[in-house]
Symmetry: C2
Subunit: 428 residues, 2 copies
């Protein structure tokens, strides 16, 4: 558990070949004629080939310290009225399909392989010919999986709920919508090609049919954090660099301290896992866009172009919160976001952020329904997300321009052993 | 008007530099200290650099025969209660900003350039450092711009409405939502980087503040057509290749016949323009995914893997609609999509399609809100989209799996001359 796995992407010609390799034979056998499906698919149908392939099996799940991919499809699920055995079977099916898709393969065996042309395909096809595109699929368990809202211990795991998997408290100004919050299970699919991420969520949802239904889901188009030092810092929809001070995978000591769960607190099955907090944060960007540059920079505490702290230097300079300017006023305001979110102001607590920009069309006032889908991984939300967010929710100057509308927390188990499944440490 | 402009992309190191180049001076001048913004932005913050840059000015607007980019942000606007002069000024402002952004520049002058640090920036910043990424911005005028719903001739152009800019008829099974349909103006922003497309729509909406408001908008993540022969055929969310038989820019005779408006019918100002029809088509993908491969292929009339017509051959083989199989049944069914949409079944009419896949989260039954945002360009909808769609709406086997929920039609004027604006042929 000492080293975060940041597997080197392997160059790959892998694509989702072979899905229909034998389908043509089926066609011929059915007398449909000459439509033999030669299936000479090109390696990619996208101009933006991405050859990264990350392992599915391993000590930790991929998609946490993995270099943040550019696109996201995240889905939260409610489990149907099924038994513990059926839940385990779902997790096994999901892991098997995820192990294939992350390697650029189809999601499952193809119906017509055994001549069964009358079955639905076991892969929906829209990622055929596309490379793995850095796909990672990361599974999590919500509090309600352990104990339903009515207190029922549906799956016999109420006693194994980790103490760190708390229900998040109400934060000042929260405007959470139930339909955008919570969930028994979650899947985070990240890829450099949105079609690949969507294909993953769609096929895992298809596989779950009758066993788990999507509660809410979110597409994100632009990552808002870097998770490795080699990545450039991207920008959020406030137009500012985001994630400059994020935990980076190379800082293995920090990752061990802040990201990986210890397995203490009687939840040994979580050792090597992590806790995911997601927040759907709507930005009132039309208001922001009519705000002066002075105000924008003061709110953040950094310059908009370079992203340097207002106390001076360049993007990666440490902010000097004691520096003062004219009249002795602090250069970085007391309510600046960079100050309030800094580890120095939060007992050293940090988060590994993996958020994405989103635009979900517009509201009926003609404003873009846009913002940040915040995702953070941590060792223990009680010591990290919760105190940091309480501090921000009370004091952050940015609050005037944002609205938290969705929220969820999930225990993200350790990675599966080769041939095993995610969740085996809990259910196995 | 004889050659479609398919400008060769120019390799470019252009990025949105300079926006904040003088902001640092402002900071110093204000005594904020050492936070000089050196602004040494890298050329790109994305792993998926795309160096294509397309011209804004020219005979035709870019974004029609331009090689279809991978990502879309489309917005429809309602014009506020403004005068004709104010409308013209909006179109001029939009063209000026589009001319800059498509070349990888910021959307406008920056407030602090003249030391005005108390103004909002003239660019929102989230595309800073990103290359042009093949951005095209294409403007269109809806029927209601010419004559409001109550018959008012707000802008003195009712008499110049082209006969081809018809209100689309009701098609069988249409389930159109008003909030997803129509609009006075539209902007199609296509790019290989979604952050660049979103940045364009957001800044043009910001510029329009008080003059035009978004009526509806749509993000698309995967193109569903090729518009040049060099592009591989992508797949839609049915998992099938889409756009195999699309009009290709290289076929200049077909483009001239089918895409560019003649300027006849008393609408000389539309010469070199085109007519855009958009349809938001929800796919019931959960039903589709539980349908046999046999049924799926019969509905389309093509194989799923290769995309070959059911009459035989490979993807680009011409379908043989007279070919029969066992018992004399046609290999391509009478209600197959490939048959009903073929030019042979539609008096030779074709469309230049430029659609995109979409996933807008999920509905409250846990089904993905997913489908195809259909965009088609044509010389005259009365002879192209309308008869083709009437044929499909009545007979297409695919109708069981789709639902048209949004619809719009726009006159897309010719390109602007250097330094002019889109719409000058109408208003100038």
């Amino acid at each position: 558990m000492s080293d975060p796995t940041t597997p080197a992407p392997t160059s790959s010609g892998i694509s989702r070949r072979g899905l229909f390799g034998l389908a043509g034979a089926g066609v011929v056998g059915l007398g449909v004629g000459a439509a033999v499906d030669r299936f000479a698919l090109p390696a990619t149908a996208s101009a933006q080939e991405n050859t990264a392939v990350y392992p599915f099996f391993g000590e930790h799940q991929s998609g946490i310290v993995t270099p943040a991919q550019d696109r996201l499809h995240f889905a939260s699920y409610d489990v149907a009225d099924i038994s513990r055995d059926e839940l385990v079977e779902l997790l096994q099916d999901w892991s098997a399909a995820a192990a294939l898709m992350t390697q650029g393969e189809q999601a499952g065996k193809f119906g017509a392989v055994n001549g069964n042309y009358d079955a639905p395909p076991d892969d929906t096809g829209e990622a055929l010919g596309l490379p793995a595109s850095g796909l990672t699929i990361t599974f999590g368990f919500g509090p309600t999986l352990f104990q339903a809202a009515d207190g029922t211990d549906r799956f016999g795991i109420a006693g194994r709920r980790p103490a760190a998997l708390v229900d998040l408290p109400h934060f000042p100004a929260d405007m959470l919508q139930d339909a955008l919050s919570g969930g028994d299970l979650c899947i985070q699919a990240c890829s450099d090609d949105p079609q690949v991420a969507v294909h993953a969520i769609r096929n895992l949802s298809r596989i779950a049919f009758g066993r788990a239904n999507i509660r809410w889901s979110q597409l994100g188009f632009g990552r808002t954090s870097s998770t490795t030092k080699a990545q450039q810092t991207p920008r959020n929809l406030f137009g500012f660099k985001d994630g400059t001070a994020n935990i980076k995978a190379e800082d293995t000591g920090v990752v061990d301290d802040q990201v990986w769960a210890s397995g203490g607190d009687g939840a040994a099955w979580m050792a090597g896992g992590s806790y995911l907090v997601s927040r759907k944060i709507r930005m009132t960007i039309e208001t922001w866009d009519r705000t002066s540059l002075r105000e924008q920079e003061a709110v953040i505490g950094r310059t908009k172009g370079e992203g340097a702290p207002y106390s001076g230097g360049t993007e990666f300079s440490e902010p000097d919160f004691s520096a003062t300017g004219q009249g002795g006023a602090p250069l970085i305001a007391q309510d600046a976001h960079v100050r309030l979110s800094h580890p120095d102001q939060n007992s050293g607590a940090q988060l590994l952020r993996r958020g994405y920009n989103f635009v979900d069309g517009n509201d009926d006032l003609g404003r873009l329904n846009a913002g940040l889908f915040f995702i953070a991984y941590q060792r223990d939300p009680r010591e990290q997300f919760i105190p940091i967010q309480m501090n921000l929710a009370k004091n952050d100057a940015m609050n005037e321009y944002i609205r938290h509308v969705g929220s969820a927390v999930f225990a993200v188990p350790p990675g599966a052993r080769q041939g095993g499944y995610v969740g085996e440490t809990l259910f196995g």
